[in-house]
């Protein structure tokens, strides 16, 4: 389905058009649910969080300033709803130097993944991403999947610029480590 700009639907919803809100939900439910899942770590909770967040969005849509980005506002509500359910974890300080280990496993994982079928690759990648810590998962998903800028991630999560960079470094390392571990286990299982 080809969607129009968010502001078009928002104006309609504010005029009392509920089906426009349904379109808005359809348009953004994937990313909203993905973010909720990064924190909740299980589908039921993630769905509840995303639904709660959409309800909050509907109830406070009149307060939304249409000159700002709707998705940033939506993801902020998703993030806060999820975090208020699952206590916010402290971001440990992380040394940038530690990321060197992650770079060394790049090549091996790439080759290992190439020989797997698409569905299997998707399953393994999702599994590895789900093993990231909540904040790492959110930061990585927003940055790499949704291509949000650091500034936008700052707005959504409330973290500082340096914290987000730390989360991204740490997330990369962890993701590659988990990927390697899963691939090893899968190979061992095959044998």
């Amino acid at each position: 389905m080809n969607y129009r700009e968010d502001n078009f639907y928002i104006s309609k919803v504010l005029q009392g058009n509920l089906s426009s809100f349904a379109i808005l939900v359809e348009k953004h439910k994937g990313m909203a649910y993905t973010l909720a899942l990064r924190i909740a770590k299980n589908q039921e909770d993630a769905e509840e969080i995303a639904q709660d967040a959409f309800m909050k969005v509907y109830n406070s849509l009149s307060t939304f300033k249409q000159d700002s980005k709707f998705t940033t506002w939506l993801y902020k509500i998703i993030y806060n709803t999820a975090i208020s359910r699952f206590r916010k974890k402290h971001i440990d300080s992380y040394s940038m130097e530690e990321s060197s280990m992650a770079d060394s496993v790049h090549e091996q994982d790439d080759d290992g993944l190439d020989i797997l079928h698409h569905q299997e690759r998707k399953r393994i990648i999702s599994m590895a991403i789900s093993r990231l810590k909540e904040d790492e998962g959110v930061a990585m998903t927003l940055f790499y999947l949704n291509e949000n800028s650091i500034k936008e991630i700052e707005e959504i999560t409330g973290f500082t610029d340096s914290n987000i960079k730390i989360l991204l470094f740490r997330g990369r390392k962890k993701l590659l480590f988990e990927l390697k571990k899963i691939l090893k286990d899968e190979i061992v299982d095959m044998i």
Partner: protein, 141 residues
């Protein structure tokens, strides 16, 4: 590693692109819309008191005044300054109440039967108003 390098990391980017977004259940949107519909139905039946606070105060003032007047205001018909009702007497200074009623130039003579009837009517009206208010509150809960 700089931020640009992280961003350009093709392997990590490809992992996220391939992993893609997760998908909620098929009922996801419908459930939200149904909740909103239910919510707007509820808000259409928000409880608003049948009798407002201010009206209650006015009713209470007149009720209590009339009640007091009927009980005490006609004491002068009985024995001196005391309250004399159906053979029981109570020495109460009723001058304040009489003063209030005389100020608003409200004075009339009523028989004991009428007085009893009015007291019963006031009691009946008040108790029914309270019951009605409480019932309407519990209905909207």
């Amino acid at each position: 590693m700089s931020l640009e390098e992280i961003k350009k990391d093709p392997f990590i980017k490809s992992l996220f692109d391939e992993g893609g977004k997760e998908h909620p259940s098929d009922k996801f949107t419908d459930q939200i819309i149904n909740t909103i519909k239910a919510q707007s139905k509820e808000s259409a039946f928000v409880y608003t008191p049948v009798i407002s606070k201010n009206v209650w105060l006015v009713i209470a003032f007149f009720g209590v005044s009339l009640f007091a007047y009927l009980l005490l205001g006609s004491a002068e018909q009985g024995q001196g300054q005391g309250l004399n009702l159906y053979g029981y007497s109570l020495n109460v200074d009723t001058s304040i109440i009489k003063g209030v009623f005389s100020k608003i130039a409200f004075s009339f003579e009523i028989s004991p039967i009428l007085k009893t009837s009015l007291l019963a009517l006031i009691f009946f009206t008040f108790s029914n108003l309270i019951i009605f208010e409480l019932r309407s509150r519990s209905f909207f809960k």
